[in-house]
Each structure stands twice: as C-alpha cells, then as structure tokens.
C-alpha cells in the first residue's frame, strides 16, 4: 500500500481507472453511502447491485481481499441484534423461494446486514486508497476547520505511540497478576491514571518540540490547490449517474 502512495502524485488518489483528488474520493464515498442507505428495507437486489461498485474497485486494483473479509467479520453486534430481531417481529409472508415462504423480517434483516457490509467495504477502500494524513488534508479542502484537522493528525500519530505504552503497562500488570487479582476496576483505574499523567507530560514535551520548529496553530499547508479538476468533476458526474442507474433499475 505504501508504494502505491509514493507513486501517486501528492494529494491525488490513484484509483484503478484515473487519478482523482483526495477530496473527490471522499465526496464520492459519501455519495455512494448515501445511495446505499437510501435502499428500501426489503430490497435485496439493490444492495447486491450497489456492492458491484466496491467489487469493481477491489478486482481492478488487485486489493487484498483477505483483510477486507476479516474486517467484515467484525460486524457490529448491535447491527446483528437488530437484524436478528426483524424475523421475529415481522412474520408477514413476503417471497416464495422455491416453495419456501420467506418472511418480510428475514428479508429486511438480510438487507440490514448486507447494507452494513457494503458500507464497511466502501470505507475500507477509502482508507486503503487514501492515506490518513492526506484524508485529513482533504477534509480541510471540503471546509473542516484547521484546528480539527490538526487534532485528527495528532490523535492518529500518537495513538500508535500511546497504544504501545498501554500495551506494555497491561502486560506488566498481567504478569504480576495471579488468579485475576490486580485486574479489578479500582486497581486498573490507577494504571489508567498513571497513563494519563505520562500522556500529559508527553504533551508538554511535544509542544516544546513543535514550538521550536515554528508551530503556531496547525499543520495544514497554506498552499492553494484547485479544489476540482476536470477529471474530478467527470468522475463525480459519471459515478453519480452509475449509482442513479442502479437505483432506477432496482428500486421502483
């Protein structure tokens, strides 16, 4: 993934077909999700058809399928409970499938799970094709305040460092714990408190280092770049028409 990002021009997302700006990729993803969300709750064909767009990207870009599938297994338990409840609550016969009557609840539950999977895949593709730092700058391009973009970049950067620290603290606690002792809420709260104090002292050092390097209020570059090129506008229009065609064919 890294190599692809190096090869793409700065601030451009290399899709399998053409190079579009990062904020266009972001808008395109949001547009796609809006179309997926607007699928009525009993319409399986429309959701399956919308899945063809991420599938086209995956196959054309030769993206790794295994991690994507692995991520799909992490379906929110909340969604699964909601989907599982539908067959019990909506037992109206809906579809005759080779002599078996399928209820409306089964269909709407299935649509819910499929919609989640398609939406998750689309988001995974966005994060695969656009590295996070460029995604944050793209947010600035669509009007997100600079302070929030800086905040996103800092959280992303320091999550990895603090996660490492938290992992070693947890490991140290677990190694000293016998029969689950020392893993209780109040003991762990002290551990979290220590992590918090270490974090804030780290923040002071970071601020001093940042100030020494000329930091004022944000990291976002001031360089003006055109928001949309002809390719961007064409991609947005063509994608919109593609999503609309699926809607018109499969949603009555």
């Amino acid at each position: 993934m890294k190599d692809i990002n190096i090869l793409t021009p700065r601030g451009q997302t290399l899709t399998p077909f053409l190079s579009i700006s990062d904020h266009t990729a972001l808008i395109l993803s949001a547009m796609f999700l809006l179309f997926v969300l607007s699928v009525p709750k009993y319409n399986i064909p429309a959701v399956i058809s919308y899945a063809s767009f991420p599938l086209l990207l995956i196959t054309a870009a030769d993206l790794p399928v295994k991690p994507l599938l692995h991520r799909l297994l992490l379906l929110s338990p909340f969604v699964l409970i909601m989907a599982a409840a539908n067959p019990w609550l909506d037992r109206r016969p809906f579809l005759d499938l080779f002599g078996i009557t399928v209820s409306g609840g089964v269909i709407s539950g299935l649509v819910l799970v499929l919609k989640t999977m398609v939406a998750m895949t689309a988001l995974q593709l966005l994060t695969h094709l656009v590295p996070f730092n460029r995604l944050a700058f793209a947010l600035k391009g669509v009007g997100v305040p600079e302070l929030f973009v800086t905040q996103l970049l800092l959280v992303y950067r320091y999550s990895f460092l603090l996660a490492e620290e938290a992992r070693s603290m947890k490991k140290a606690r677990d190694m000293r714990s016998f029969g689950g002792k020392g893993k209780g809420l109040f003991t762990t709260a002290k551990l979290i408190g220590s992590l918090l104090i270490r974090t804030t002292s780290r923040a002071e050092k970071i601020y001093m280092a940042m100030t020494a390097r000329g930091f004022h209020s944000g990291f976002v570059e001031k360089k003006a770049t055109p928001l949309f090129t002809g390719v961007d506008i064409a991609s947005l229009v063509v994608s919109f028409l593609g999503f609309l065609v699926v809607r018109m064919v499969f949603i009555h």
Partner: protein, 347 residues
C-alpha cells in the same frame, strides 16, 4: 453504542451530520478565541490516550466480565466542553475509518450521542452542578456517577430515537428502549466508577491537571439550541420525508404533471418497450408472492413495497459478477496491472 450506517435513513443521517458539523465549527471557533496553542498537543494526545486507555481492560465487580473506559466524561473534566468535543470527535472519526465502529454517514449521529452529550449536556448540567470546583470527594463522586449514567442513558435514548426515526428496525420504540436502557445503566455505573477512580488518582498525584479547563462563561442555552436543531432535523424532517416523494420523484412529477411517469406511447417508445419485453430473460422485478402471501397481504392493512423477487436477486448477482469480471479485465490496462505495483498494493 456506535450507530452503524445501515441503521440510518439518509435524512436522519444528514440531519445529525449538519448538527454535528456545526458543533465542530462552533467548538473550533471557541477554542481559537482562547488563543492557547499549548493545549493543541494536549488535546491531540488526550484523544490518543482514549484509544490507549481502552486497551487496558478490567474486571467488572460482581460479574466477572470485562470492561473498558469510555472516556467521554473524563476528557471533558480534563479539557472542558469545546476541546473535549473536538478530541472525542477526532477519536470517533478514526474509529469509524479504521475500526469499523459506526460509519461515515453515521458519524453525525455518533458525534451527537457519544461526544455532544457528555461534553455539552452531562458535564455542564450535571457534573458541574454536583461537583463544582470543590475538592470534596463526596461531591466529586456524586457528580461523576450522575453525569456518566446520564450521558450513557441519554446516548442510548438518542440511538433508539435515531434508529426508530430511520424506520430500519422492526423493534417497537418502547421495546427497543426497554432493551437499551438497562444495559446502558449498567455501563453508565461502571463508566462513572472508573472516571471517579481516575479523577481521584489524578487529584492526589497531579492536581494541577484538573485545573486546566477554563470556567465556562458561555450561556448554557447553546447546547439546548443544538439539541433542538437535531430533534427538528432528525425528527420532523424524517417524518415528512416518509410521506413525501424524494427529490427525483418530485422533480419528475413536476415535469410530467402527473404522479407516476409513464411511457409516452409513441411508436419509438413502443418499439423499444416490445424489444425489451422480448429480450428480457428476467422480466419485471415485481414480487412473486406466494398464494398464502397474497391472501395474508390482502387481509393485512399494510403492504410491503420493494423490488425483491427471485428474478431481481438473480439479476443483481449477475450485475455483481459482471462488475467483478470487469475489474479483472480493467486491471490489465491500469497502473495496478503492472506486476510490481500490484504486488506492493496487495502486500
């Protein structure tokens, strides 16, 4: 408690997006007015701290099951409402993009439920009222517990409202609420206890940390304005949208001066219609409802409205297959088709 994209209708998601985006703008403006650059990295690392702290799980007393810190209230106690909202919002954005918690369009709802409520409702209206600036452990304990429980219960109520307004689930409002509230009451108690324990620890070891947030001089009706906007956006607009045609249908109806768009009946249209009828191997996506279904649906007051049928499903699977195959063909002509790049992208 993250709401997933699929549980929301575009109207509800859009309304909450608008409210949460305004809140980000409002909070960023308030923070900029403070002109205190030293707190920018503090906000950043405290956002990252939430991720890290969530990795350290603990045993919940009396149950034996595990839990972790949520962090919404703790961050607000440390940073104040505006900075905490931005820090929590950044955590939620990263969670939605990389951890499949929630989704891009559900972000508006998740920011409202998990960041706005602890930062702008639970903290100023409950924690501050009970705990104030006093060092009294009893007041701090009451404030932490009450605020954490209220934040979790209000958040759960909002999840139920947003999902019910979206019309995705079959669960009735009251049953859904009865299912959600007891669970979130328990989570709220645990969150309150951890928050209290961490705040007490910090109070003993680094009391200066708790004095970093400025005393709010802003009028308290601002959070209420945003709540009102969310309710109007999510509730009123979605109730209209369910009975009114969508934008495309409305425009078509205006243009054609009739409710449904029919064929014009001219020769060319008829020719293509008959051609389509002859060539279609999966004609019409209307339902093939069983005889029993027809009887039951006839007696039922409500009717199901969708395009799902066996032929529809087969048709959509063919579209999927076609798209997958087209991808393989296109790969050869794309930069990903070159072996080196393709491999580096895949590994």
């Amino acid at each position: 408690m993250h709401v997933a994209d699929a549980l929301l209708s575009p109207v509800v998601a859009g309304a909450f997006w608008a409210v949460s985006a305004s809140l980000i703008g409002f909070s960023a403006q308030q923070v900029s007015l403070e002109e205190d650059g030293s707190k920018t990295p503090l906000m950043g690392v405290l956002g990252a701290f939430v991720f890290a702290a969530q990795m350290i799980n603990f045993t919940i007393p009396g149950t034996g099951s595990g839990g972790h810190l949520g962090g919404g209230l703790l961050l607000t106690i440390l940073l104040g409402p505006h900075r905490a909202f931005l820090a929590l919002a950044s955590v939620l954005v990263i969670q939605s993009l990389f951890f499949a918690d929630g989704g891009l369009l559900a972000l508006g709802c998740n920011l409202f439920n998990l960041a706005f409520i602890p930062a702008f409702i639970a903290f100023p209206f409950i924690y501050r009222v009970f705990a104030g600036n006093s060092a009294s452990p009893v007041r701090r304990a009451t404030g932490s517990m009450a605020a954490a429980i209220a934040a979790l219960l209000t958040g759960a109520l909002c999840v139920v409202l947003e999902t019910t307004l979206s019309g995705i689930t079959e669960l009735p409002f009251s049953s859904f609420l009865l299912f959600m509230l007891p669970i979130h009451l328990a989570i709220g108690i645990v969150e309150g206890l951890v928050t209290l324990a961490v705040v007490s620890f910090v109070m003993k070891t680094e009391p200066a940390l708790l004095a970093t947030q400025p005393a709010s001089s802003k009028p308290r009706f601002i959070p209420l304005l945003f709540t009102l906007a969310a309710l109007i956006g999510g509730g009123v607009v979605s109730s209209f949208s369910s009975s009114l045609p969508d934008g495309l249908e409305w425009a078509m109806a205006r243009v054609s001066q009739q409710e449904k768009v029919y064929g014009r009946g001219d020769n060319v249209h008829d020719l293509f219609a008959s051609l389509q009828a002859r060539t279609a191997f999966l004609p019409d996506y209307s339902f093939k409802i069983s005889d029993k279904a027809v009887e039951k649906t006839a007696t039922s007051a409500s009717s199901l409205n969708s395009g799902t049928s066996v032929s529809g499903i087969i048709g959509s699977l063919l579209v999927l297959l076609l798209a997958g195959s087209a991808g393989f063909v296109l790969r050869k002509g794309s930069p990903y088709g070159q072996r080196g790049i393709a491999n580096s992208g895949a590994k």
